[in-house]
């Protein structure tokens, strides 16, 4: 059988009394993207940090490119690139300075490091601002530089730890395109995210984790089938119309809508056609709306569908 690009078996990690990972298995075939979807504190970052040799597991094993992350950490570090929450660029250096620094630490000669930096700056659209300190970069530029920094050593496996958290949607799609280009060239990726949309856009395979355990595994398509594909969110003009809106949503979809915002209702739909029928229903009833959207389910909705427990209610108890 083909050797996995990276593989974790039965990972356990405790920090004091907190159990960050409680027996997690992950693996990905070479050249594929594995997304790990979960809320804050689910253990995503800990899993990445173990695979990236930054943290030792309390139990279980992890291998990257066949090398053990604990016993053969030095070998593993020659294969990996790390970006996102677990690693940052140096704000006081320029974008170019950061990339050249990493190149030199990877034992490139100075001219090679400069060439490599220029190549990546160009590719990520940062050439114009290459010599300005990162402190003045926008959020999107910083994430792009971060991604570039993880690719300096031409890694075989890249860990992207919530690479787009906090970015606005346009910037997010731009970064996705860049991740997709990198993966098209055969690099394997472990991506952690809080957005099903992001996993759907990038991943070949998906794990949902919560409280340090994998609670669902499959391809994004399989998972979407479980959680009901898409969802419609409606925000009536006047909060007094909430009940009326809810009635329309329920009668068209046959599901009970969930209140997702102060004045927003959301309900899973099986296809876009249902969404148009919801729109027709609202118009027929004469309910004016300020927002109407068709989107992939949010993390909260995914968890609701998988566990039957609303995360809000869970944290209340």
């Amino acid at each position: 059988m083909e050797q996995p690009a990276f593989q974790a078996e039965g990972l356990v990690k405790r920090f004091g009394k907190t159990v960050a990972l409680d027996g997690v298995d992950l693996s990905a075939r070479p050249g594929t993207v594995l997304a790990v979807l979960g809320p804050n504190g689910a253990g995503k970052t800990t899993a990445v940090r173990i695979l990236a040799t930054l943290v030792r597991p309390d139990a279980g094993t992890a291998r990257v490119g066949g090398f053990d992350v604990v016993r053969e950490a030095a070998r593993v570090r020659r294969l990996i690139g790390l970006a996102g929450q677990s690693a940052t660029v140096d704000e006081e250096l320029s974008g170019r300075g950061n990339l050249v620094l990493i190149g030199l630490l990877l034992d490139l000669r100075r001219n090679e490091a400069r060439t490599r930096a220029a190549e990546l700056l160009d590719r990520f659209g940062l050439t114009e601002d290459a010599d300005r300190p990162v402190a003045v970069y926008s959020g999107g530029m910083r994430r792009r530089l971060d991604l570039a920094a993880s690719l300096v050593g031409r890694p075989r496996v890249v860990f992207l730890d919530e690479p787009t958290t906090g970015l606005d949607p346009g910037r997010r799609e731009e970064l996705w395109r860049m991740v997709r280009e990198a993966t098209a060239e055969g690099v394997s990726v472990l991506l952690t995210t809080q957005y099903l949309e992001e996993a759907d856009a990038l991943a070949d395979d998906l794990r949902v984790i919560d409280h340090g355990r994998v609670i669902a595994a499959g391809t994004p398509a399989e998972l979407k089938r479980v959680v009901g594909g898409q969802a419609v969110s409606v925000r009536p003009d006047d909060p007094e119309h909430m009940d009326e809106t809810a009635r329309v949503l329920a009668s068209v979809t046959g599901r009970s809508p969930e209140r997702t915002g102060r004045a927003t209702l959301s309900v899973p739909v099986d296809d876009a056609d249902t969404a148009w029928r919801v729109a027709d229903g609202l118009r027929a009833e004469g309910v004016p709306v300020t927002e109407f959207s068709l989107h992939l389910p949010s993390l909260d909705e995914v968890f609701f569908a998988l566990t039957g427990v609303s995360r809000d209610k869970e944290s209340d108890t």
Binding site: R49, L54, V55, L101, L105, R123, P155
Partner: protein, 266 residues
Amino acid sequence: MSDLLSPLDTPRRPAALTRHSLVLARRGLAKSVRDPGAIVNGVITPALFMVLFVYLFGGSVSGSTGDYLRYLFPGVLVMGAGLSGMLASGVSINVDRKKGVFDRFRSLPIGRSAPLWGSVLADVVRYAVAVALLFAIGYLMGFRVTTDLASAAAAAALAMGFGFALSWVMVFVGVLVRNESTVLAVAFIAFLPLLLGTSLAAPVDTLPGWLRAWAGINPATHAMDACRALLTGTAAGASITVTLAWSAGLVAVFCPLAVLAHTRER
């Protein structure tokens, strides 16, 4: 472009730790050029003490400001190197660890102690600048080396060696505590007894008993006495040996401790 991700041809080159440390030292210095705070602190504070003491007390303590400057300057030199050592690395390492910059370094195939060595080596350049600037200020105020050039160079080296030793202590603190403000607080609290509770402003035997006892033990006193001997030809006694022993001892203890604390997982 299509080979953007083909494996890098990077044969392992020799002396990796030294090379990586120097690369990281350059990074530290590039930042110092942009934000020369640590150097300024290492120069301004001692220079202010020098001006203040010489012109306020010089006349009454030594009879003339020139004589007092002769006594004071070597101590100020040690203070400058020591202060630079206490303020730079500990703080910057703490910030780098907290922000995640060191996590990127730790995911690279480099020695785990390389970032610490890099930072401390960058500090050495900072003390050199601080010491040179203090010599220039001292010269303008009228201080003259009365021994020879070799002794003056030895004094500068001794002061820098002492600063190097102190910076390892602060690196250890920087790795251990959570916030850079704590590192600064430790440096400030240590500054008073360590650099002022010495023979800096007046000979130890003129101090009250309790302070004399402390100043006698304090390695900074020995470093100042040694520099005084090397720059102005006073009796050195054992001060040079004691300073070297202290500096070596501090490095021998705190360098491994800092590396250990740094590589220990969190």
